[in-house]
């Protein structure tokens, strides 16, 4: 059992929990995730480790209340327990001094972009962050991202803050301005990661994306999270979650993410 040490609402339906998990915290590295199950009848869901604190032995996770499990998770309070928590899962991201890294986070994905940006900064890369959301109120971790970025750009779909448009607009602008970009890391809705990869491919800019397929055990046992990378099937839980964006079959990812749409509706009604 893992006690919830802190809870914050970052945006409407977007929450951050700080959970006690000393062993996982000690071992976890940026890019890795955990799987939690919150009740005897509950699902196992993967969540990215946004931050860890070795001293307290805690992990921070951010989630949007979209389905039954995330809604129930959102109802837990400080002092409550999470029944099952397992990790750290997935391959840690690799960080090398490359020069300039553009870190792109869309929506809830900003939570996953943050540890990446932080690690790039720590290793001595110049970090340009582009963060975007539907609307101003859904923009999360703006200050945190700003504090570890050399440059930061904000976009909103409705223009309520920053650039009126998408994160890809800014990325194209940077490329057009001939800014030397050595690496792009993007995390957010699959459609956004797809668009980012399509923009960088002709310019041969190395682009990494963090994928979020449906998982069950997340130990490589079920193959439910299989994604097609350059014509080859990979399991996102053990081979990923980070892959070369130019090789990802995003259409397939998007289709497979819709597998249980009908069941999700039934499940949400039960909530």
């Amino acid at each position: 059992m893992h006690i919830i040490l802190d809870k914050k609402e970052l945006a409407p339906n977007v929450k951050m929990l700080k959970v006690s998990a000393p062993l996982v915290a000690r071992k976890s590295k940026p890019g890795q995730f955990i799987v939690i199950r919150i009740s005897e009848k509950g699902e196992r869901i993967p969540l990215t480790i946004v931050e860890k604190d070795d001293k307290i032995g805690s992990l921070a996770i951010i989630f949007q209340e979209v389905g039954r499990t995330t809604k129930e998770l959102g109802e837990l309070r400080k002092g409550d327990h999470i029944l099952d928590l397992v990790g750290p899962l997935g391959k840690p991201s690799e960080f090398r001094k490359v020069g300039t890294a553009v870190i792109i986070g869309g929506g809830i994905g900003i939570g996953e972009a943050y540890p990446e940006a932080k690690a790039h900064k720590a290793i001595g890369n110049r970090v340009i962050s582009i963060i975007g959301a539907r609307s101003r109120e859904f923009l999360i971790l703006e200050n945190e991202m700003a504090s570890i970025s050399d440059e930061i750009y904000i976009t909103t779909d409705d223009g309520t803050k920053g650039h009126h448009g998408f994160v890809t607009d800014i990325l194209e602008e940077l490329i057009n301005k001939k800014i030397k970009i050595d690496l792009v890391f993007a995390v957010g809705p699959p459609i956004m990661m797809k668009a980012v990869s399509e923009i960088t491919e002709p310019h041969r800019i190395k682009t990494l994306v963090s994928l979020n397929p449906i998982m069950v055990d997340a130990t490589g046992m079920c193959g439910g999270c299989r994604v097609n990378i350059g014509g080859e099937n990979k399991f996102a839980c053990v081979d990923g979650p980070t892959f070369d964006g130019h090789k990802v079959d995003f259409e397939l990812l998007i289709k497979r993410l819709n597998t249980y749409i009908a069941e999700e509706k039934i499940s949400c009604k039960m909530h």
Partner: protein, 473 residues
């Protein structure tokens, strides 16, 4: 007591089962076990051979004639004691052991007709013990000797090793990756063949032997083999199982509605998707399911799909004779309405515009010369392609060992398929580390894995008993 001379020695009682029409509508156990009268009567049929072949046929060498003798005398508690000297989880092995190819195949009575129903008798006494709640801690448990052993995985191999090591006086901790112990017994074998209540009771017994079970601990991630040694464990037993599913490598394999048997069964068994939405994990099941494969896992997937309300075809590229599933499981599946399409191999899966499975293209096969496994090689018949409509496809063609531990452990040698290389005592290439079960090559059945785990335990005990360990690499 009945004099066996005047009895018909050729017949055994048939296992009581839920009738097919009833059982396809529920997930309750199919085989209901023997009644006490049936069990005693069957025990009376045993010839109590002076040189019993059945003991040698059993991978863990249970003293079969002795426990049967106790059943005949209605001393069921003594019968269970005899079994538990060699087998910590008899309610499980009594259900899933292929006795017909192990202890029963060598029974002398087989020559007269039917062998003693050893499996059913084992199950009877272990269920008797669970029902009467007298599960005793074996008198064999020795006093603690102050040495710690880590067991990785809580499936049949891990539970066996942990139980036996604990009986020998070691302090044993099991590290289980999932949230529930039991390994394949929990996530793989369905409720109707392996009730989870039974698994829990057997796991409880292992705990009462003094074993601590830590769930949600993925060794290779949260702790490495090296970390475990640093934590003071004197020996490590790896029983992490198989668990990386094979796919076919054909077009359409990633369509919605295509599952690996592992995913399908894990959703249904571990996550209880058959009780969705009461349980929150969903499963997608259509009207027409095709299961690809011919093993026990394929039968489990097929029979599960039936119970979820689908019509089911099993396609297999050889004939029924070559199917690796237990005869009894194939029989049960067919009796329930699973349709077999033998000499049939999948070619391509087709989907609709939303990416959902629509049909499976197959090709007819014929049998050629035997291959290296001794089974006749299936050969495609050119031009025999045909299509089968379906909305769910389950791929049950086996699995590879999970590489999480080998990838994270320097010096742990694996073969070209990723199995851990071990000697006859289960020693791996790392000093102080043993392995058994599906993580080693040719592990065979549940009970064979348990047999190997027992051998490893004997070797671990031998090595740790010496003042200066002389474990060879």
């Amino acid at each position: 007591m009945t004099d066996s001379k005047h009895k018909d020695l050729s017949k055994r009682p048939s296992m009581n089962k839920q009738p097919p029409v009833k059982r396809v509508r529920n997930f309750n156990e199919v085989a209901l076990g023997l009644t006490q009268e049936q069990a005693v009567k069957e025990a009376e049929r045993c010839l109590q051979c002076k040189d019993p072949k059945c003991i040698k046929g059993c991978p863990v060498e249970i003293n079969i004639p002795l426990f049967i003798k106790f059943i005949k005398e209605r001393k069921f508690n003594q019968a269970i004691e005899v079994i538990k000297e060699r087998d910590n989880i008899p309610a499980i092995t009594g259900r899933v052991c292929p006795q017909e190819t192990q202890c029963e195949i060598v029974c002398i009575l087989k020559k007269l007709g039917e062998p003693i129903a050893i499996g059913a008798l084992e199950r009877y006494v272990s269920d008797y013990e669970l029902k009467t709640k007298i599960q005793k801690i074996s008198k064999l448990k020795k006093k603690e000797i102050g040495k710690k052993i880590a067991v990785i995985g809580s499936g049949p191999a891990g539970l066996t090793a942990a139980g036996d090591l604990s009986k020998l006086g070691y302090k044993v901790t099991i590290f289980e990756a999932l949230h529930e112990p039991g390994g394949v017994l929990t996530y793989g074998i369905p409720e109707f063949r392996m009730p989870k209540g039974i698994v829990r009771s057997e796991v409880e017994y292992i705990k009462r032997l003094g074993v601590e079970i830590k769930t949600n601990m993925i060794i290779g991630k949260i702790l490495t083999i090296k970390d475990l040694f640093n934590l003071g464990y004197d020996a490590i037993f790896i029983g992490s199982g198989a668990g990386s599913p094979h796919f076919l490598g054909i077009n359409g394999e990633n369509l919605i509605g295509v599952y690996s048997a592992n995913e399908f069964l894990t959703r249904v068994n571990l996550m209880k998707a058959y009780l969705f939405p009461k349980y929150h994990t969903p499963i997608k099941i259509g009207k027409n399911t095709i299961v690809i494969g011919g093993g026990n896992v394929a039968m489990d997937a097929a029979r599960t799909s039936l119970r979820l309300g689908s019509d089911v075809f099993v396609i297999y590229r050889r004939t029924e004779k070559e199917m690796p599933a237990r005869t009894e499981e194939i029989y049960n599946a067919k009796e329930e309405g699973v349709k077999l399409r033998i000499l049939t191999s999948p070619v391509k899966i087709f989907g609709d515009e939303k990416g959902r499975v629509k049909s499976l293209e197959c090709i007819k096969m014929k049998l050629g010369q035997p291959d290296e496994t001794g089974r006749k090689r299936p050969i495609e018949i050119p031009g025999s392609n045909f299509s089968m409509d379906c909305d769910t496809v389950i791929i049950a063609i086996g699995q590879a060992p999970n590489p999480l531990i080998s990838n994270s452990t320097k010096g742990l040698k694996t073969d070209d398929k990723g199995y851990l290389i071990v000697d006859k005592n289960g020693r791996t290439s790392i000093k102080g580390v043993w392995a058994a079960g599906d993580i080693v090559p040719d592990s065979g059945t549940v009970i064979e894995a348990m047999g190997r785990a027992r051998k490893a335990v004997i070797d671990i005990n031998k090595c740790l008993s010496q003042t200066r360990p002389t474990i060879k690499n």
